[in-house]
Amino acid sequence: MAAGPFGTRRTRRLIPWASIAIPGIGWLLFGLYPSLATVGYSFTQYSGLPGTPLNVCGLCNYTAAFTSLSAQVWESLQVTLVYVVGVTVLQNVAGLGLALLLNRPGRSYTVYRALIFMPQIFSVAVVGAVFALILDPFTGPAATAWKALFGSTTAFLGDSSLALPLVMLVNIWMFAGYSMLIYIAGLRNIPKPVYEAAALDGAGRWRAFLHVTWPLLAPATTVNVFLTAMGALGEYALILVLTGGNFGTKTLGLYMFESAFGGNSQLGYGSMLAMLQFLLTLAIGGTLLFTLRRREIQL
């Protein structure tokens, strides 16, 4: 159909276009144009400061990523993959577990769900402050608990083997509530008779979950896995406030931030890294959507 039912014969075709015109123009001006400029900057040597020379240099920044910067890009790619896979898997497990536990009627459960959802309404700066306090090796409660459990001290976010898992846990703490809500929504879409039929077949709770709940949750899983992976891939602000990207937590997003705003900053390199991040997002997002959708159909 090429036109809606609204308007006279003359305006029928125009109305849909008029409808999208204002947000469309806004998006072109304030969304797409700055993005395209960033694509452009990725082919230049430019400090980003007004009045300084801008040299178009073709693929120079991209070549650097595979020559002089290859060790750093490679390292940050590895960290990014660990981060994305870890957060996606664990946050979905946590979200699903919470959804199964908390999908109950009653006022108390409404309060619990709200509390679990709450952390993400705070800005990253607040979350950073909270965990800087809690995870301080000398003044934080986590240090007291660690000492009681293991009888030793640890540096927490300053320990190269603990920092990345801790940052991932904070990320999950912040966003598990969102995953939980999507799974609860999925659970509510499963018709009751399906369970009753499974119960008649004599399926145990675990079998019922495996053969009824899990397959029927596929749309919610698709959304959750996709959103969590994309979120984790783009996350850098949280890592920045927690570790500054040190102690083995420098993801590609953070590396990009550092190149764009660090001491030796250069807009050209920063834009190139943003483009690498974009390509990685496209590749991972595309693959995920494709496989998850196929899985939905097969189940």
Partner: protein, 286 residues
């Protein structure tokens, strides 16, 4: 239904423990610090405040000039939030219905370009050229003219039967009136969800107001908080108090609207690619 292996009381207690100890406690811990004196904090950082004091809240409020900034923040959050949601519906509706040629291509274009990296420096130069720099209306135009929640709404609108479009059109209902009186009320849960996310995002936005608004009287409260942080780097009780003053309005909004969240998210979950947040642009601290 099979009997529940967890007795109701045990489950309730378990859920309480998870919600309170794992999720709420860290925030409560920060909140408690706000009631300590600076020396009290240094002497006993982990314990309960002794003595308790309310001074930090007063000091943060006056030192940070949070009063005026709170009002600014409210304007910067409410106006773009309302406008973008309405524009988002106007953008999503015809695309979702396929009411114009190539609507699939338009849809794909918006989805794809949403993933492109942002660019703060070009955005700034552009805003300055258009005369939007350092003015409240300019800032509102800059933040209001996009259709927030587009992806989410496209999916949601698919769940509204298209027969009502034709019925309404036959009755002579105009397009704009139809959207406002028929479609928008149908989308309440989705709009409530996005209203919260949009409000939180706008309220917590730091970098955009930092570069776009140079006059102190135009600042939102986050901008003030940030300067405040820097001037009192180690006075945790004061920082905690300032943080909670700034976060209080979003907490209130959240408490008021949280009932709609489950429903709102549920509606979007029916459609796979919904709610893909635009990736944060470099330097945009959320």
């Amino acid at each position: 239904m099979r009997t529940n292996p967890l007795r109701a009381g045990t489950r309730n207690l378990l859920c309480f423990g998870i919600a309170a100890l794992l999720f709420a406690a860290p925030l409560v811990y920060l909140f408690l610090q706000a009631f300590k004196t600076f020396t009290g904090f240094l002497q006993d950082p982990t314990g309960l405040p002794h003595p308790w004091t309310l001074e930090n809240f007063g000091a943060a409020w006056t030192q940070g000039d949070f009063g005026r900034q709170m009002l600014n923040s409210l304007v910067y959050a409410v106006v773009p939030d309302t406008v973008t949601l309405i524009l988002g519906v106007f953008l999503a509706f015809p695309v979702s219905r396929g009411y114009f040629r190539r609507s699939n291509a338009v849809y794909a274009f918006f989805v794809f370009s949403g993933f492109l990296p942002g660019g703060l420096i070009p955005l700034f130069i552009e805003a300055q050229a258009l005369g939007l720099y350092n003015s409240m209306p300019g800032y509102l135009i800059l933040t209001s003219l996009s259709g927030a929640g587009f992806f989410f709404f496209v999916g949601y609108i698919k769940g509204i039967p298209r027969e009502i479009d034709e019925a309404a059109a036959l009755d002579g209902c105009g397009y704009v009136r139809f959207i406002f009186t028929i479609i928008i009320p149908q989308m309440k849960p989705a709009l409530a969800t996005f209203a919260i996310f949009g409000f939180v995002h706008a309220w917590n936005n730091l970098i955009l107001p930092l570069v776009m608004l140079s006059d102190q009287k135009l600042w939102p409260v986050t901008r003030g908080l940030y300067s405040f942080f820097g001037e009192h780097t180690q006075n945790w009780p004061l920082i905690a108090a300032g943080t909670f003053i700034v976060a209080a309005p979003i907490l209130l909004l959240f408490v008021a609207l949280q009932r709609h969240l489950v429903e709102g998210v549920a509606g979007g979950a029916a459609f796979g690619t919904q709610g893909v947040a635009v990736p944060a642009e470099p330097g945009e601290a959320r």
